[in-house]
């Protein structure tokens, strides 16, 4: 038996984790529905956000920010019992390697949940544009803002999301210590401020500044990932 990584066992674990989320679907579901309805509500109620020529671009920005905000908090809901002495025993005793368990948490938090949100967001936006809802004049992919997006900005957004989500996995799920949570929230806020700053810079036309930030964000994301894995590897109950 391969005790480090076995693809079949890992598949079973991911499936188990997805199923295991269902008792918590109430909170997670509410978070996801809030995220999905936020952009349409903002757009429909505040027309200034969708004034041409930036209509679809603003919608996209809003979606990305809200998706990142909600997705990075979802691991706290899904895995909040993993690091606790009483409830964590179930997770610790599940016959899968520590590496598989951590990877499953990361996969669910960084890929499965955000991808579900992204697809749902795009589907809702496309539907509203197709039915000519007020202020929905263009499809997302027709947005001129998409063509002006800098690669550095995309990398920064992605890394800010990855770093903050890994930070939340470490602080809330694995570490389960209040001061670490606080530290992580501060860190997360810092990342979000950075993200907002980038969008503002982008809109103001200040480009080409972002690769230093990309490097810093990549380091931070790697640090968060390492902290989470290291703690997961040594966790006692």
């Amino acid at each position: 038996m391969n005790n480090s990584f076995d693809i079949q066992r890992f598949g079973r674990l991911v499936l188990h984790d997805v199923k295991r989320c269902t008792p918590r679907f109430g909170t997670v579901g509410a978070m996801m529905i809030s995220e999905l309805t936020f952009t349409p509500l903002m757009v429909l109620s505040q027309g200034f956000l969708t004034q041409d020529p930036h209509g679809a671009g603003y919608r996209l920005s809003l979606m990305v920010l809200m998706s990142a905000f909600i997705s990075s908090m979802i691991p706290t809901q899904l895995y909040s019992n993993v690091g606790k002495k009483k409830t964590g025993v179930y997770f610790a005793m599940l016959p899968a390697s520590k590496w598989e368990k951590y990877l499953s948490m990361v996969l669910l938090s960084l890929v499965i949940v955000p991808l579900t949100l992204l697809v749902a967001n795009v589907a809702i936006d496309t539907l509203l544009t197709a039915v000519h809802a007020p202020y929905y004049h263009k499809y997302l992919w027709q947005s001129e803002a998409l063509q002006r997006i800098e690669p550095a900005m995309v990398c920064n957004c992605a890394l800010a999301f990855i770093g903050s989500t890994l930070g939340f996995i470490y602080a809330n799920a694995v570490q389960n210590k209040a001061w670490r949570n606080t530290m992580c929230i501060v860190l997360w806020l810092w990342l979000m401020v950075g993200l907002f700053a980038m969008i503002i810079f982008e809109i103001a036309g200040l480009t080409g500044y972002g690769w230093y930030l990309v490097a810093a964000q990549a380091l931070l994301a790697a640090l968060m990932g390492w902290l989470g894995w290291n703690k997961m590897n040594k966790m006692s109950y």
């Binding site: 038996m1 005790n3 076995d6 066992r9 079973r12 499936l15 188990h16 199923k19 295991r20 269902t22 008792p23 019992n81 009483k86 409830t87 025993v89 179930y90 610790a92 005793m93 599940l94 016959p95 899968a96 390697s97 520590k98 598989e100 040594k234 006692s236 109950y237």
Partner: protein
């Protein structure tokens, strides 16, 4: 086989075990007894890898416990004292989640145990009493088919009929060659079930012996006068019960509570007798 070698363990600066050595060969129901706070639960957690020894080693079939390798986890199940179950799920859904990870899981055994313990497999945990939740967890743990079953205070919260059903279920499982370790302070609940018996004290193992060896070394006398040479005496309605060194090799019926008290009060004498 579970082996503990030269193991030290402490919670920060509070020592729990100091240089203990124990082994649990396959196919027996071990009783792990001790006063509150001596480390019974900690020992179970060390065995299944939920805690890491400060010094020394604990292995399950040669695999270091705290590595928690999938191969080891597939062979061992730990049922903690405090039940934490997903409220919205049913026992059947609970085992359905676990079953893919345990090739030895038996749905038939699970349903049979649930029936014996009189719990409905399709009733939600949140609609159950603590005792029913505990019984569901017992049925789930025993039906996984693991070689090693660690039970921490399994009879806590069980009513009297359930306790006898539990004993009968456990005996059947033990007959299949499984190794069961029961940690409890409710010794009456597991009397006639556990053999060998391990008694823990602060930092050390006071006794680790089979029932046969215990009754060879100690004599349990019922209904007599209080004896001066008794390691422990207790007044019962039928007279005194004395625990005395078995100098003549007489046969007697073990009383675990009396043994426990005798061991705690005569640590050095017991060590000498059983060395």
């Amino acid at each position: 086989m579970i082996e503990i070698k030269n193991l030290d363990f402490s919670y920060k600066k509070t020592p729990v075990f100091s240089n203990i050595n124990l082994s649990f060969p396959e196919g027996a129901i071990y009783g792990l007894l001790g006063e509150n706070g001596v480390g019974k639960t900690t020992l179970l957690k060390l065995i299944c890898g939920l805690q890491r020894p400060t010094v020394g080693n604990c292995t399950v079939d040669g695999m270091t416990s705290h590595d928690r390798l999938p191969e080891m986890l597939q062979r061992i199940v730990f049922m903690p004292d405090e039940v934490t179950l997903p409220d919205g799920a049913t026992p059947q859904q609970y085992v359905n989640e676990l079953a893919p990870f345990y090739p030895t899981f038996s749905q038939g055994t699970f349903l049979h145990l649930m029936q014996e313990l009189e719990v409905e497999p399709d009733r939600k945990f949140k609609e159950m009493s603590f005792g029913q939740q505990k019984k569901s967890l017992i049925a789930a743990s025993l039906s996984l088919g693991t070689d090693y079953i660690l039970l921490d205070e399994p009879t806590n919260g069980l009513d009297i009929p359930s306790k006898s059903q539990f004993r009968s279920s456990l005996s059947k499982i033990a007959d299949e060659g499984k190794t069961i370790i029961i940690s409890t302070h409710q010794v009456k609940d597991v009397e006639n079930l556990i053999d060998p018996i391990v008694i823990l004290s602060h930092n050390a193992v006071l006794l680790d012996a089979s029932v046969q060896k215990i009754t060879e070394k100690l004599y349990f006398e019922y209904g007599g006068e209080k004896r001066d040479d008794a390691l422990y005496s207790e007044l019962l309605p039928s007279g005194y019960m004395n625990v005395v060194p078995n100098a003549i090799g007489a046969e007697s019926q073990l009383n675990i509570e009396a043994l426990f008290n005798a061991v705690l009060r005569n640590k050095n004498t017991i060590k000498e007798l059983f060395k």
